[in-house]
């Protein structure tokens, strides 16, 4: 994990994100680490990225990154996507750090929709871009009421939502952004990561920071913190899994697989994490 001194550090080149803004984001990030799962407001800036494409994540990354960092940016599981590559180049050009695609060598990873398959270490930080940070929006639109519910740890209506889902559909249909309790206190939406990735947040070695630009919120899951998906005792939490599916490239069956169109019309699967897939192929 980054030390407090590093998080609060000064310096770095000027440009798209001034020192004052960085300091504000760092301050919010420190508060977020101190109160795991609590959404800390911050003065979000306009960022030179497409709307909805991670201005919150970018600000957190810019506030943390230094010339000595190795930055990995992924969209879905891919390093090579246009958005991911653009964002990576933007930060690298701005800060002068190194571009990285190998999860093992990256010091800072910004992601949308996935947590890498390779377990992250204490010396790595994950920044997740958050489109909708408020898990309670599913059951309550009034922002003041949402705040009250968080303050009083009044999450009964989330449980009712889960109950109704089970009654109506026989299963919990919520997949991406599955609501989780952090450290037994605050409910968070872990961004549009699949359920498959949720267990990776629980008692992790690394720090995860969540940045929501439009909603101006930062929250955190510090290392060694409990992250528990909202589930009834007698209805187990199940992650996405298709029996019999294996990656077309590397043969992996235990990674998060996505369906791809195949020439012969049959269903084919590939690893969503391209870096993992590449290395897994080399191993074979």
């Amino acid at each position: 994990m980054r030390t407090v001194t590093e998080l609060a550090g000064t310096g770095g080149p000027r440009g798209i994100f001034d020192e004052l803004s960085k300091r504000e984001v760092r301050r919010a990030a420190l508060t977020a680490v101190a109160v795991p799962g609590y959404q800390v407001p911050f003065g979000s800036r306009e960022m030179p990225v497409a709307r909805g494409w991670g201005s919150g994540g970018l600000q957190v990354t810019l506030a943390l990154v230094g010339p000595g960092d190795r930055l990995k940016v992924i969209d879905q599981g891919e390093d090579g996507g246009v958005n991911a590559a653009n964002l990576r180049r933007l930060v690298v050009g701005h800060v002068g750090c190194e571009e990285e695609t190998d999860t093992r060598r990256a010091t800072l990873i910004q992601s949308r929709h996935r947590i890498p398959e390779t377990p992250l270490r204490a010396d790595q930080t994950l920044v997740l871009q958050v489109p909708v940070p408020e898990p309670l929006r599913a059951v309550e639109h009034d922002v003041r009421e949402q705040r009250r519910m968080h303050a009083q740890e009044d999450y009964a209506r989330m449980w009712v939502g889960l109950y109704e889902d089970l009654v109506r559909n026989g299963v919990v249909t919520k997949s991406a952004g599955y609501p989780c309790m952090v450290n037994g206190r605050y409910l968070i939406s872990p961004t549009p990561i699949p359920r498959f990735d949720v267990p990776k947040l629980d008692q992790a070695e690394h720090l995860t920071l969540f940045g929501a630009g439009r909603e101006k919120r930062i929250y955190a899951v510090p290392p060694h913190t409990r992250v528990e998906p909202l589930v009834f005792e007698d209805v187990p939490f199940e992650v996405e899994h298709t029996p019999g599916a294996a990656c077309r490239h590397c043969g992996a069956t235990a990674s998060y697989l996505v369906e791809v169109p195949s020439m012969d019309g049959a269903v084919a699967w590939v690893c969503s994490d391209t870096d993992f897939c590449t290395r897994n192929r080399e191993v074979r």
């Binding site: 009083q152 209506r157 449980w159 009712v160 109950y163 109704e164 009654v167 007698d234």
Partner: protein, 278 residues
């Protein structure tokens, strides 16, 4: 202690809170509006005790202050003065009116339940009957889906709601059925104190009679301490043993319900009784 709920010196003033607002208000002045400050003395110096298994009625017309008293005790609003104690909270040693909002809200989970006149005030109409009950059960820490279903079914059976309707949104229910679901939800965590605010007002007479029968049975069987607020002496007669009559924010008469109905002393009580006897 013999009471489950005790209320002392409860007062609620809208507008200027000082002593200047009191003179000139009350039944003998025919108003609850202060001539000096224009403040509304909605309730003043109201006190009572309710024992487990006992039901107390508060009767009066609209503007008498009876609903204000109920809302203050329920925690829906903060009184200007007074205190309230629950034997089920800190052995009755803590004034629950002085608790912060979060603690007050938690009392509503399993210590004090309220049934409102309008089912929409106590229920989420877009949620199923079972889901509404599940809200109360999960608030109390229920995390076992199967047991929540079982308890919800048990409560719906208790309030005579057909189990076949358990998974239907409450919005699709009739007024009487909604009220039964609201009662089921209120009883979910076996609260020792139950507050009923005009529980049958607005229902058709025959439907209201059915709900009253149900409430009467439940109050007899459950050993809960109940406060029944109504403008209708018929409801009070059916459900309560003791009654307080309120007018212009003050209690004008208290007594055993059957005696007071037989021989009301205060002119206002006499009027209300006459109206109920029609």
């Amino acid at each position: 202690m013999s009471w489950a709920l005790k209320v002392d010196g409860l007062g609620r003033v809208y507008g200027e809170q000082g002593p200047r607002s009191l003179p000139g208000t009350g039944p003998e002045h025919g108003t609850s509006v202060s001539p000096a400050t224009g403040a509304v003395v909605a309730a003043w110096d109201v006190g009572f005790e309710v024992a487990p298994g006992e039901a107390l009625g508060i009767v009066g017309e609209s503007g008498s202050g009876k609903s204000t008293v109920m809302r203050c005790v329920a925690g829906d609003e903060r009184p200007s003065r007074g205190s309230a104690y629950l034997s089920a909270y800190d052995d009755g040693r803590t004034d629950v009116l002085a608790l912060d909002d979060g603690a007050r809200r938690r009392l509503r989970i399993d210590r004090v339940a309220v049934v409102y006149q309008d089912p929409a005030a106590g229920l989420d109409l877009d949620t199923s009957a079972g889901g509404n009950i599940a809200e109360r059960l999960t608030a109390a820490g229920g995390r076992h889906f199967g047991r929540i279903r079982e308890r919800a079914a048990e409560l719906l059976e208790l309030t005579e709601v057909p189990l076949s309707r358990m998974d239907d949104p409450v919005r699709t229910f009739s007024g009487g059925m909604r009220q039964r679901v609201q009662i089921a939800k209120a009883l979910a965590n076996r609260p020792p104190v139950l507050l009923l605010d005009e529980p049958t007002t607005g229902l058709d007479a025959s439907v209201a009679a059915g709900v009253l029968d149900l409430l009467r049975n439940l109050l007899e069987r459950l050993g809960v301490a109940a406060v029944v607020v109504s403008h209708d002496f018929g409801v009070i007669e059916m459900l309560t043993r003791r009654v307080m009559v309120m007018q212009h924010g003050r209690v004008v008469e208290t007594g055993l319900t059957d005696q007071l109905l037989e021989d009301p002393q205060h002119p206002y009580s006499q009027r209300l009784v006459a109206a109920a006897r029609g």
